[in-house]
Structure formats: C-alpha cells, structure tokens
Amino acid sequence: MDFNLAGVHWLSDLLLCTQPLPVPTIPTERQFYEENKPFTCLDGSSTIPFDRVNDDYCDCRDGSDEPGTAACPNGSFHCTNAGFRPTFIPSSRINDGICDCCDTTDEYNSGATCQNTCREMGRKERESLQIMAEITKEGFLLKQQLIHEAKRGQEDKQGKLTELQGSKKGLEEKVEALRTVKETAEDPEKEAKERHLKAWEEQKELIRMEKDKTRMAEAFLELDDDADGYVSVAELQSHLELDPDSDGSLSETETQGLLGGADKVDTSTFETVWSGIKDKYLSEVSQGQSEPPAPVETPQEEESRDFVSDHDSDHYPEDYAGEEDVEDDEEDDHEEEEEEEEKVPPTVQTPEKREDDEVSMPPYDTETQSLIDAAQKARDDFDEAERALREVDDQMKNLEKEIGFDFGPSAEFAYLYSQCYELSTSEYIYRLCPFNRVSQKPKFGGSETNLGLWGQWAGPEDNLYSVMKYDHGQGCWQGPNRSTTVKLTCGKETVVTSTSEPSRCEYLMEFTTPAVCQEPASLDEVLHGHTEL
C-alpha cells in the first residue's frame, strides 16, 4: 500500500502511530474529547481511556469513540471542508478508496489520491448560489407581482361576480317582464291564426270535395266500360285492390256488397259506393302506366321515417367506431365527440316542406300578419333576454369554479390557469395545462395521449405547493392509468424543463415558475453564511 504521508491529515498520523486524537473533529463536540482524560461515550453508555478514542475499534454503542475511523457501523465523520461546506459522512466512507470530503480528510489511509476541491467547489457553489439567489430574488419579485395580479384578478373576478349577480337579477326581471309581453302578444296572434286556419281548412275541404267529385266522375267513366251509364258488378270486379278480405279475388258477392247490394249503379248511386271504395281505388290509367300514386299523406310519413333511419345508419357506426378507438376511456375524446354530435344539425325539418306540394295556404291577411309580427318580436326579445341570463349564469359558474380553485396560499399559481406549456423532446411534444391536464403527442404523427387530469397538490406536508399530481390518464396495458407528477421549482420563467417516465406510465415533469420562489435571505447573508466556515 502506498503510504504517502506528505500533506496527510493529522488523523492518519494518529492511526499510524496509534496516538490519541489531539483535536476532536466536530467543533460543537470538541469539549467532550479532552486529551488524556477518560472519554465518556456521548450517549453515556460507557467510559473508556482516552487512548481508545479513534483507535480503530468501536467501544461506544453510539460510535462516538471513533469519530475519525470506520470502526463503528453507526458512526459518522465530519469533513471540515474549509472553503466549502462542512458535512457529515457515514464513517463507512472513511478510507474506502473513494473521495467523499472535498478536503480529502476521509481518505487519509486508503491510498486513494484525492484532490482538495473545496475551494473550487466553494467557488462553484457560491456562483450557483449567487445565480440561484438572483433567480430567487427576481422570481420572488415576479411572484409578488403574480400575487398582486392574482389578488387583483381575484378581486376583479369577485367584482365581476357581484356585478353579474346584479345583472342577473336585472335580467331575471327582464325575462319575466318579457315573458308577460310575449304571452300577451301571443294570445291575439293565436286567435287570429286559428281563424285564418279555420277559414283555410274550410276552403281546403271545398277544394277536396271538388277534387273528389272529379275523381268520382272519372272513375265512373273508367268503370263504365260499356258506357251504359251504369257500373256493373262485372265492371267493378277487375279491381282486385278493392277486395275486402284481401284474399286475392274479388267475388261477385263481394262486388255486390261494394255496390250496396245492387247489380249495377248509376251515377247518383255511385256517389255512395265511391265513398266506400275511393281510398283503395286505383285508376286504371295509372295502373297501366305504373305511375307512382299521387302523393298522399301516408307515403310521405314513410319517406320521412326512411330519412331519419338513413341518418341513423350513416351516423351510428361512426359513433361505434369512435367508441372503439377510445377503448382506453379517454374522457376528452368523449367530450369532443359529444360536441361533434351537438354540431350535427337537426334533420327532421325537411319533410314538413312537402306539404307545399298541395295547394299552399294563402298568406295571412294584414291584420293577422301584424299580430304575428308583434308576437314574434315579443318572442325574440324574450329569447334574447333568456339567453343573456344563461350566459350570465355560465359566466358566474366559471368564475365561481376559478375562484374556488386552490391556487396556492396567495393565489400565486392563478396565472397558470387556462394556460398551456409545451416541451419538445426527440420523440414527443409534452404539454402541461396546469389545473387541467398533461398530454403527450408524438412528433411524427400519431394521436395525443392523455397523461393525466388535474388531481391535486401533492407536495410534502411542509411544502404542499411544490408538486402537482395529474392522474386518471389513458390506461396502460397491464399497468395503471397514466399519471404525471409535476415538480415545481423556482425560476424566472414559466417553463417545462424536463420530462421523464421513471416507471412505466408514471411520468415526471419538471416545471419552473416564479410562483414557488421563496423570499430570499439577503444574498449577502447566503454567501456570508458559507464563507464563514
């Protein structure tokens, strides 16, 4: 072994010569190590001759007799580290061949060649402390600003809330007032419209009867094959569609029944027969040419139903496929989807227009129209007022939610609300939206992955606001749902500085913000406190 003694700490002299320790190592405990007097273990467990202090054999249960050797399993060694910061290391690191103390004092007998790096480390530490101090200082100033802004923001919000509460009251009254106006205007409107409609119905009935008569006459002529002025059983029998029992044949008796028991009927008697058969009767002309039947109400309804079901079959699979894609139950996707669905316009309006195929209703007379216009205006006014009220309600809810958030003891984190911060790595873009969510998107295509939704502050008890926890992100195969821990450190800027995945699907994000900067001890104090030693 290389026992190069040049510049070796006094401890090595002690060991090599088995001399008692001339000076105790720990300044505060120096008094207990009095040379040439029996030493009492610091826990008082026993008293030993002083030559057993630092003699490389552990006599005290608390390890206090061997402050300079590795003999005691529970001992610790004090590095003075002049020029840097004094520190304790476990005594197992004395003479283990690894330089732990920057002043090299821990390796006085191991052959390890250690350089005294205390001065350099001290300088570096001071530099970094200085930088940190500056950052902290500036950060703290920014924090004050943030607190101030947050306070003002909070006040604004509170004020706005109060304001909104006031305007809500006004709006509620307005809505009620307009409701009355609307209802008042709607009564005469309704009456006038009903009147108009009734007149129209009557007119329509006349038209319909006229049409029916024409059809009847046409039918009579059509049926009266021999043009004898009568429709006979034989003449009617070819119209199988009239078969009352739908057995495919129209018997003589059945036909007679249709003709009211007679063998044949003339034009005037046919009127009564017609009312019985007209719904089923198919014109021979249209039958022959297989023309589509005249548009009547029933087919229309069918058509509209078809339309709706078409819509279903178009749309349903999309929903289905959508759900499959979000197997992992990503809540946001669901939200987006719901939004999408809402955006789909209502589809059942179109068929109504078909009524226009028939003769359309005549326009309202001026008097009725003016009543309608007045009522419509009242309705519009009412709707608008109601919408305004809803808006105010929404605003209030959002404000209350925001006010209710825990933005830190002085709301210094409030400024992060509704912001997002990104960090780009070689593979992914990470996105932190504080108090909302964390996500990850591959740089080169691929969908975004939810790494967690805002959970809670999760720092240690004495520093709760140093860590944010986002959980219930997208699930992992054979693993937990993704979650992200965000560690906050003091910085002038608000930036995501790093991300990692220490365990599968458990992400760690480092985030600097002035909001966590602590009030700095004065820079002088910081530096002074270290140079003293």
């Binding site: 003999a71 061949g97 690894i98 079959s313 499959e324 990692s500 995945e501 220490p502």
Partner: protein, 924 residues
C-alpha cells in the same frame, strides 16, 4: 358495415381475452404435454415387461478400459452396442448406441471436462446367462444378465441399482424412409413387404429368425404442433431406459422445474420435462420444462446417495415412480426418454452425498470461482432508462446508505435491440457512466442476447452472416425467427469458430463503450424464438451436420461459454468473468451464474426460489438466485422486504422487475421498509467472506454452496423433504420468512447432540428439534452451527471492493464439547492469480482446549493482506480469567475481553493480528 364492425368487435374481444388469459398465468397450450410429443407418447405407451433385448455374450470383449457387448432387439433384429466403463472415483458409465447406424447419432461434446479416466474391470464369473464384473472394493460388482438384458450394480448381496429391469430399454434405430405413398397409406400391405425385406437385409446378419415388421406410427416422420411443422427428415430416433433403485424413496435433481425439492411421482401425470424453453409466467408445482436442463438425478436414503447423469441434449422426459418394490422394500423407478442421440449414462455410486458431488464434478467441472463482488448485491430493472437514471439510482443507494456492487441494464439500453451497441440518445457516453461507477468501485452488467437483428447496417449481423455462422433452416438458408429486435438470426454457438469470434467481440476495442467493470448477462438463450414452436427453435434447423433437435438443451450452455471466454480474453486471461445465463445444461456451472427466470411477485414464487436453487445446487450449479421482488407483477412492501431477506441468504442476490411495473428501488416504500431492506443487504455484506469461502470450496470440490439439510445430515430422515430452509455451506442454517403477515416460523434444527446459535441474539438451541421462532418484520431466522467458526466483515461499506482491506470479526460457535473449527480464504477477489500464481491465503481457524489458533492450510501460497482480526466472539463460552495472544514471533500480549453471562458470549477486544499469519489466543 355493421356486420364488419361486429366482426371487428368480436376480434378485439378475442384478442383481449387471449391477452387476459396470458396475464393470469402460463398459457399451457403453448407447450407440449407428453401426449403431444410424438416420441414421448410413443415411448410412454410401452409398458414395463419383459425386455425384447438380449445381450449376446459371445460378442463380449473386455479391454483394459472397458467392456463391449452387442444387444439384440428380438423384435426387429436390430443390433446395439453396449459399452461399459468403470470410471475412477466409483462411477460406472453405460453407453448404448446402434451397432451400425445408417448415419452417426449425436454424442454430446464439450460437457465433460475430460475423457473420464477409467479403471480396470475384471471378470469375476461368467456363464451363458450372465457375466459378473468387479467394480473394485471388496464386494462391488456389476452383473450383466443376457436374457433378457439387464444390468445390476451390487454391493455385497444388495442391489443398488438395476438397468432395464423393467424392460423399458427402447432404441429407435435410424431408418430409411418408406416411400411417400406408404406414408400416406400405411395400411397397404404391399408397401410394407418391401420395407420389411429392406429391414431384414439390413439387420439380419446371419440371423435366421424373421424380424417383426415395424409399422410407422404417426409422428415418426413429421409432426405438427399448433401451426408449426417439424419435418423430421431423419425419422424416429428416440431412446429410453429404465433404472430401478431398491430401498430409495427420495430422489432429487433434474432441474429446471418450478417444483418442490423432492421429485414427485409422475404416474398418472406428465413426466418431468427437460427442454429449455422461455415460459411466459410459469406456473408453480408443475413438471413443465423451464429455461434450463441438467439431466442429473440424485437418489438418497439413510445408507447411500447415488447419482444418474443422462448425458443427452435432446428433448428429454423423466418418469419417476416411487412405491413398494418386492418384499415391502420401498423402491423408486426412473425412466428417461430422449428424442435423439445415444444412451450415455454415468452412474455415480456415492456413497455419501459429498462423494456424489465429487463424482459429478469430476465429469462436468465445478462452479466457476466468481469475482467476490458478484456475490454482493445486484440492482437490476427492465430498464434503467438512461445515464441520468443510472446515476440517480447509484446516488440513491449512497443517500440511503445501502450497499450495492452491480447495476444492470436490460435490453432497452441498446440501439434497437442490437447487442453490443448503445442507444445514442439514452446512453451517449457509456464510458463516462462506467467511469462514474468505477470511481465508486462499482460495476455494471449489460445484456447480450444471442438473437441478432437481421439488419445489413449492423456489424455483428453482417459479420456472422458473411462468415456463415448462423444456424441454418432445414432448407439451408439462414434460420430466422422473431425476437426482441424483430426478425433475428441465431448464431451457431455449437461451432467452435463461431464461439471464438463471439468471444472476440467482447474485446474493449470491439464492444464500444465497454470497460473492465462491465460484465454480461445472456438472456433468451433457450433459444427464445417468439414465433417458433413452443417459443423456441424449429427442431429441423441445422447446426452443421446436426439437427437442432440433437443439440437443443446445449445452446444456452454454449452461449454462456463463449461469452465468459470473451470476458477472460479481453483482460488477457487475467480477470475472472461474470456472466449470468437463463438457459443452462450440465456443466454450465463452469461459466457463471444462473437465475430462475421470469418469476412473479407472489409469495408462492418467493417460497419456490428455495427448492429451485437447491435443486440446481445438487447438480453442480451453485451460483443460483431468483429475481428479488419477483419479475412480473408488483410486490407489496411486505413481500419485497421478505424477498430481500431471503435473497440476502441465497447465492445470487439480484433485484429485478418487469418494464411495466412501478419502480421499486429499496427506498421507495417508506423509511421503515428502507431500513429493513438496508439491514438485509448489510447482513449479506458482513457475510461476504463466508460466501466467498463457500465458493472457493465449491470450485475446488463441487460441493453445493446452498444445500438441502439432508446433504449434511444424510441419516436424518426428517431432513429429506425439507425445502423451506437450507444450509449455506455447513455452518449456516437459514429459514427465511416466506408467508404473508407471518408471526412465526418453525425451523428444523438438525443434528442429534449438536447445538445451533441464533446469529442475531446468540441464543443457543439444541439440534434435532423443531424450533418455533416468533418473527417480526425485521426477523431473518439464521443459525450458526455449534462447532463452526465464521468470519465476517462488519464494516459494511458502499460496495464490496471498498471492504477489501477491512478487518475481520470471528464468530466462534462452540459445540457441546467446547470445540469449533472454521476457515478463512483471502485473495485479490477478481483475478486468476489465486490459480496461476498461488496468490491467496487459506487458513484453518480452530478452537480447542480453550485456545483459538490460526494455521496455514496452504503453506505454498502467499497473499499480502491488510486485513486483521478486529474482534472475536465466542458463543457458548465461559468467562475466562485472562486471555493472551501469542503472535507469530512468539511474543505474548494480553487481550481485553468482555463476557455477557446472559448470552454466554465472550468478546475478545482487538487482537489486532494480521489475518494472514499464525497466531493463538489462549483463554485461561
């Protein structure tokens, strides 16, 4: 549209349910049962009875070294050649091959360390029915009976072992394939006649009798398992032989199986299977094959321990049947069935357990003497993500004052699973990282698997391809299979040229970013082929002239051999290698450590780690461990702590975890659990001198390090089935707590008249009793045998290298006569100089007649050590009046002492003598 979606949906459900079932446990349907293995079911269909073989005594020839005799199969007239060797060290070798095979049959090379030296055999008696041969000693005899053929090994009037006594010798001779038509329609008589004639011509050789016609059975010329076809161009070639062990009820060995120490009866179930396989989430208490295979079975009763070594590397099944033999004597019958190769059996006759270990290690070698640091604690995870992660974990150990020696990198450290490379983003400066570890006297292991990514820009691949070193498929092209890197080739490690080239890849200038503190882990070397039959290689793949079928169980053995050789070479032959392997075979002990593969974070798996490593130890592989914490799934803090406590007392001590599990470094479970884990790891470090000594012995003698109790107490029947506790060497008995919320364990302390000392409290207990021990979370029940002396280093530092020069504390545990003995072994811990330059210290410590002295066991060796004797604790002592030390130079000095009457422990303060010299301490 809708129906398409429905189908998609159904598909997803199916896929999902497949995954789910996989996550629960092993998917048994991926692996063959005996019924699904054509040769096994064929052989097993044959029932015990009169053997169809006759020994043709007229062909008997006896030379100096061996005896040969032909065996005739009376059914088909095929002749076999039996060779019998009497080997030095009380062993008999029985070889049976075809007398004239149409092409050579595979004989396993490289496993035996030497051609076993023979001894003279002499004929004691001979008539037309039998030949009696002397096996030495007074009345050791071997009786060869002619009709039916059988062999009996006798000691005096007692039969120790019989071969073919149940008539299960079966040897499928190699044959020419009948034409393809007969293969599809075996019922056609005309076809058969032709082949019959052909067979007759081949075998008759002067025989007049008609050979029975042999009918092809399904699976002889091809076999399909799931979607995988095995073309079997060589047809049937399987072999089988039975062994009867009268008076034996307990048999052990034939790892690797996740089963108890004592082998179970396989009647009515599947035989134990030996076929190296990558089994995903293996099941416990199951004879299914696992990652490695050592075809060695030990039998034991109160009188005798014997061993059977079935030297065959093909797929092998072993039936074990215990019951009453004739006249109420218990008997165990064992039957071996292998798919190809020859019968080559070594019968190790003991008679003591240590004799069997000596015998077996004289054949296949002993455990490689590992670097001391590899006996310390290993921290592994799939995966430590990048250099920062490695550095943070390293720092974490120091911050929490937990020692460790090795940190491991799994497959993700590579550039796209190209072994010998580094991921440039995550590990841009591997040498800086390794230097950082070296500065703390720590080491690293990277994984190097044998599947090589098929990628023309990957040097390793292009070299292997251009040199023609890949295993070939049945059509002669490079065999390719699916593994971690995607499409991969598999180097033919059976080729010595290939191994030489592979070894050269570990040179510092070849393996870029490697340094002397970087070691290697060979995983997936069964070999694992994700898309192959049973997740391994097609049996018709080719290794030169041989089929993969012939060599399968050897592949992993060769991978580790070549890797260890590479590590030796890179240091110019100076440094001991450390290579961990998952697949193994007989002889793998020569190349490093083995672990029990992908276990799970379950209490059952913690328990199973004991019998699995005990079984490996019995067949030579001492350096064994299980993933601490369990690989799959997530352990509770309690399970993790208990596993650390158990693992700290097993030979290979490594924590490992699956990629999908949450982090579990020791400090992540609260300060209490951190403290418990720290304490367990520290106990390991204090005992490293003892572990090192055990491995020194293992290397020299082949004795297992981790031993079943019966090995040391062979006459105590109570120990024969114990596999929840074990011995380390002779002197430490460990009974780990392996039950959840345990409040106590019952440990069996063996040895009538012996005493045991609790190593934590020094409380003394009598042997030959079941001792109830109340336990808390900090309890690790460990006992030191009275009569032993154990050296510890109690100054636990952050790595074992840091403790190199530290002093020893001796624990002298007195037996009931007041005596004790122990040893101390010291060398540099990492080179071969102990062997090449005799640089080591090996001393005997002995306490007798109130004197403790250290004397040299190896006077011709030397090693300078700075270590000294710090303290001596004498357990079970009485208070002396004075203690004096006599140093080497004869000078006397008095030694201070302390006596604790409550524990009867006498502590001698600081004798201060160097650990490498003679000294005596006198108690007066």
């Amino acid at each position: 549209m809708a129906s398409f979606i429905e189908r998609m949906c159904l598909y997803r459900v199916l896929v999902l349910s497949v995954f789910l079932s996989i996550t629960q446990a092993v998917d048994r349907s991926n692996f063959k049962t005996c019924d699904q293995s054509a040769f096994c079911s064929r052989q097993r269909a044959m029932k015990p009875g009169q053997s169809s073989y006759t020994a043709l005594l007229e062909t008997l020839e006896l030379s100096d070294s061996h005896l040969t005799v032909q065996l005739l199969n009376n059914n088909n007239k095929v002749l076999l050649l039996l060779e019998l060797y009497r080997l030095q060290g009380n062993m008999t070798r029985v070889k049976i091959n075809e007398l004239k095979p149409i092409k050579p049959r595979y004989e396993v090379p490289d496993v035996l360390i030497t051609d076993p030296p023979t001894e003279l055999m002499s004929v004691l008696a001979q008539d037309e029915h039998r030949v009696v041969l002397s096996l030495g000693g007074e009345d050791w005899r071997l009786i060869l009976s002619a009709q039916p053929f059988r062999l009996d090994i006798m000691e005096g009037p007692q039969v120790l072992l019989s071969l073919n006594s149940r008539g299960l010798l079966a040897f499928e001779q190699l044959r020419i394939r009948k034409d393809t038509k007969s293969q599809t329609d075996t019922e056609e008589a005309g076809e058969k006649e032709d082949t019959e004639k052909h067979d007759k011509e081949k075998v008759s050789e002067g025989e007049e009798e008609e050979a029975e016609e042999e009918v092809d059975q399904p699976g002889m010329w091809e076999e399909t398992f799931k979607t995988h076809a095995d073309t079997k161009p060589n047809g049937p070639s399987s072999i089988s032989l039975d062994f009867s062990l009268p008076g034996v009820e307990h048999v052990y060995g034939i790892p690797e199986h996740a089963d108890g120490l004592k082998l179970k009866n396989t009647d009515g179930g599947d035989p134990y299977r030996l076929y190296n396989l990558d089994v995903f989430q293996y099941e416990l208490f199951n004879p299914m094959a696992l990652y490695g295979a050592v075809p060695v079975l030990l039998s034991h009763n109160t009188h005798r321990t014997m061993g059977l070594f079935w030297l065959n590397a093909a797929e092998t099944w072993v039936d074990v049947s215990s019951g009453q033999g004739s006249s109420e004597v218990p008997q165990t019958d064992v039957r071996w069935i292998s798919e190809s190769g020859i019968i080559d059996v070594f019968i190790m006759l003991g008679p003591r357990p240590n004799d069997v270990f000596t015998q077996y290690s004289s054949l296949t070698g002993t455990q490689a003497f590992p670097p001391l640091s590899s006996l310390a604690y290993h921290q592994c995870r799939w995966n430590y993500n990048d250099q920062e992660d490695v550095s943070a974990v390293d720092q974490g150990f120091d911050e929490h004052d937990i020692p460790y020696d090795f940190i491991w990198l799994d497959i993700e450290h590579t550039d796209g699973k190209r072994y010998f490379t580094w991921d440039n983003n995550k590990f841009p400066q591997p040498k800086d990282m390794l230097q950082g570890l070296l500065d703390k006297r720590r080491k690293m292991v990277t994984i190097v698997d044998p599947h090589i990514k098929v990628d023309s820009s990957y040097k390793i691949h292009t070299e292997i391809r251009s040199r023609g070193y890949y295993i070939k498929n049945k059509d002669g092209g490079d065999y390719e299979g699916w593994c971690w890197p995607g499409n991969a080739g598999y180097p033919d490690f059976t080729n010595p040229e290939m191994r030489k080239w592979w070894a050269s890849m570990f040179a510092y200038d070849q393996y870029e970013g490697s340094m002397e503190n970087l070691y290697t882990w060979n995983d997936m070397n069964e070999p694992s082929v994700f898309n192959g039959p049973e997740v391994t290689m097609h049996k018709d793949a080719l290794h030169g002239p041989w089929e993969h079928r012939d060599i399968h169980n050897l592949y992993g053995f060769y991978v580790q051999m070549a890797t260890a050789e590479g590590q030796i070479q890179r240091s110019g032959g100076l440094e001991r290698p450390f290579v961990l392997t998952r697949a193994f075979f007989a002889g793998s002990q020569r190349y490093g450590a083995v672990w029990t593969g992908d276990n799970a974070a379950e209490w059952g798996h913690l328990k199973m780690s004991i019998p699995m490593c005990l079984s490996l130890g019995l067949v030579g592989i001492s350096f064994c461990g299980a993933d601490v914490g369990g690989f799959f799934k997530t352990p509770s803090a309690e399970l993790l702590v208990r596993w650390y406590q158990a693992g700290a007392y097993q030979p290979f001590f490594r924590a490992h975890a699956h990629l999908d599990t949450p982090r579990r470094e020791p400090w992540l479970f609260g300060p209490d659990n951190t403290a418990l884990i720290r304490e367990a790891v520290r106990q390991r470090y204090t005992l490293l001198p003892y572990w090192y000594l055990q491995f020194y012995h293992a290397q020299r003698t082949g004795q297992p390090v981790m031993r079943p109790l019966w090995v040391e107490y062979p006459e105590d029947i109570a120990t024969f089935s114990i596999d929840n506790e074990f011995l380390i060497g002779r002197d430490l008995l460990v009974h780990p707590v392996t039950d959840e919320r345990s409040s106590g364990v019952t440990a069996y302390l063996p040895g009538n008249g012996e005493v045991w000392y609790d190593v934590h409290t020094f409380q003394r207990h009598d042997g030959a009793q079941n001792l109830s021990i109340p336990v808390t979370m900090s309890s690790i029940p460990v006992f030191q045998r009275g009569g032993s002396i154990i050296c510890r280093k109690n100054r636990v530092r952050r790595s074992s290298s840091c403790m190199e020069n530290d002093p020893y504390t001796l624990y002298v545990a007195l037996d009931s006569q007041g005596n004790a003995e122990g040893e101390i072994y010291i060398d540099d811990g990492h080179t071969f100089k102990h062997k090449t330059d005799k640089q080591f210290i090996h001393r005997r410590l002995s306490f007798t007649a109130n004197s403790l002295s250290s004397s040299d066991l190896s006077p011709d060796s030397q090693f300078p050590t700075a270590s000294w004797v710090e303290q001596v604790n004498i357990l079970g002592a009485q208070k002396p009046d004075a203690v004096t030390l006599t140093a080497t130079d004869g000078g006397e000095s008095s030694v201070e002492f302390e006596f604790d009457p409550d524990t009867a422990v006498l502590t001698l303060r600081k004798p201060g003598v160097n650990a490498g010299v003679n000294w005596t301490l006198h108690l007066r």
